[in-house]
Amino acid sequence: MSPSLIHAIPLSGQVINLCAAIMLLLGFAMLSQRRVLTLINLFMLQGLVLFVSTLIVALTTDQSHLLWSAGLTLILKVFALPYILHRLIRRLSVKWDIETLLNIPTIMLIGIALVVIAFNVAQPISQLSGTITRATIGIALACVLLAFLMMITRSKAVPQVIAFLAMENALFFAATSATYGMPMVVELGIALDVMVGMVILGVFFFQIREQFDSLDIRHMERMKDE
């Protein structure tokens, strides 16, 4: 790569690109991670990266509401949610649970295919978008799809919820990179949704375990109406 091209991207842009790369990496890491505890840590890390990238976007573009978003991300996704999840798996005594994932290489390959699709799909959007972060739209979309894939491949309740939260992270990242974030009201609403959803799912976990003596949602298959 010629030096002039590197100079074309300002430092803030490079940091954001770095963050995006880390996001994608974390997405893959979560996709292939078996341990619940590690999964939560990865999720926390993803929140942290999200916070950093949002903060940089906020500082470079003088979008004051993005500062609020960044703060909210830090509090909610780096501290609150991982803390709740930690407590939850302790209470549910699934801290050292290992989930048997079938055929990790295949899942990874599907993930790569998804990234290709995401980049291909995001290309026209990136061209339309005028933000400094537009290069990362593809990555954000890829993260969404990877989180979705994770939701499909997991059969235990807690990893599925983490996948859901990761998807929300990725969506937030996509919104930031495409349009400098959503309006404040929407963001607050989403943050509240995530909190409430977390609480409800927490209650739900206990109910599932009470009913089936396990957190494996495959047990719920027999609730199907015959």
Binding site: L145, I152, T153, R154, E221
Partner: protein
Amino acid sequence: MHEFLLIDWVLTTALVWLLIGLIGVVFQHNFTLISRVLFPLGAVCGLALAGLALSGIDGSPQVLVLPIGLPDLPFHLRLDALSSFFLLLLGATAAGISIYAAGYIRKGEGTAPGLQCLLYHLFLTSMAFVLLADDGYAFMVAWETMALSSFFLVTSEHRHDEIRRAGYLYLLVAHVGAVGILLSFGVMAGSAGDYTFDAMRDFPTLGIWPTIAFLLALFGFGAKAGLLPLHVWLPEAHPAAPSPVSAMMSGVMLKTAIYGLLRVSFDLLHAQLWWWGALLLLLGLASAIFGAIFSTVQTDMKRLLAYSSIENIGLIFVGFGLTLIFQSFAMPQLAALALVATLYHCLNHAFFKSLLFLCTGSVLHATRERNLGKLGGLIHRMPWVTWLALVGVLASAGLPPLNGFVSEWLLLQSFLFTSGLPQGYLNMLLPLVAGAIALIAALAGFAMVKFFGVVFLGQPREEKLAQAHDAGRLERIGLLWLAAGCLLLGLLPNVVITLLDPVTRQLVGSGLSFAASSHGWWLLAPISEDRASYSPAIFLGSIVVLMPLVYWVVNRRFRRRLKRVPPWDCGFPLQTSRMQDTAEGFGQPIRRIFSPFFKRTREHPSPFDTQPRYRSLVEDPFWYWLYLPIARIVGYGTRIIAFLQQGRIAIYLLYSFVTLIALLVWTRG
């Protein structure tokens, strides 16, 4: 503040009904209030509405825009001659039924009285709104409210399985029909997306779209009216509902469907094609024959009346079809004649069928029995109900000087002019239809003789019938009102025809008023005096004179010579009330003659059976020809679709995932 117009008064009356219903549900524990104040008040509202509508018929159309509903989508209302006529029908019938319901409603029967009060009055309000609506949106809202409120009224005694099933069937057909109506409005609204009837009136009359709109409307309104082959809900829902509700549904609700189709085919679509009329005529004829035949073989008195409703709706559609045929060949005078017959029959049927349904309600309360085989001899216990039912029965059988005769006679009169039609096939076939209508009238008479004879005449077939009591005072008022309506509509045809004049002028551009007025009030000659004329007054006069005369002569000649002696037993040493002609027995010849129409299962006891049981079940063949195949196809389709439901969350997520990817790729490409 604008002037308080007639339409505002009509609207106010309709809303007072709603208010009465709400009061009823608020004070639902005060039974006296509900039965002695609210329902009679509803009847007064009905009278008021009838009076207002009467003055609205020859007034100019009035419009009103109500700022309710969705934003930018207000309710448009309109009062013109057509809607006024049907509002008159609604108000006048509702007055009788409401006052009857005040006496009929009981605690501890099905739905609580307060709730029934709300549903009943909501039903009335929604029907008034259906008649007033001037845009597709208001119409559909009112139409669906009508369907839902009547559904809950039908399933008032929802603890019985069969009643729930009847309600479900009713709701299903009502909704399928509503889809048809909605699509029809959609076609007429066109691409402009303006659903006011005013915009639909500008719908271009070229091409195939008017036909599509008409056929969809026919499907939708036909489902509500109980036109063949969408009639199956009617004989199920009418017996299931409490009697005032059956009366309301049969008497008025079916007519809202006629109103809707009249509105669509004459007001919204201007140019009619003759084969629309021929189609209506055929469907109506099929319904009428089918209903008449089936009503003769029923053993449940309310089912008998329900099939009779199908028959009458069929006759109304025959008149409607004939109107369309005449109109499409630009013969407004004859179209007006056929339309008068149609509308007249709507009004007549509303009166006599409500009367009969209410009579069955009184019988039901007095005996707890709907099965004709267990009734009989009620004339001694229930003289009021019997004599008033006789009026309804005579009217329904189409005998002069009652109202049923006038409309059927007018209908047959209009058939006599079909030879002037410039269409060869119609010329040949329509006289056959006239013949079929004569057959239908005879069959209807047969069914009515059966109904009246088995229920009221002869000897009681059960012990418990001795305890039967006559209708209460409020019930009698309701029955009297409707019976008086039957009599007056029969005696004063000229008044009614003059009243109908603005309606026919609005729809087909011609009227019969000159025919009604040119020969004085007592002689009706729809086309000319030397072709055909009818004078109910002379008829009534001769009946009044001749009947006592005959009675007197017979009495005088035979009374003295008649000796009562123990009869030779004719091989019947013991004679019980069971040996009377039963409902099954009475209908047997018809069942034999028309056997291809029925699907029949019989169980005969063997001679050595110690507990002999005779069972004969006559079923509607349409179930087997049409509905069960459709149900099987739907069942098969849903089983295939049910394959999607695997019960695994991962699979469900995969569905959304694949959809997401597909959509993304699609928007990209």
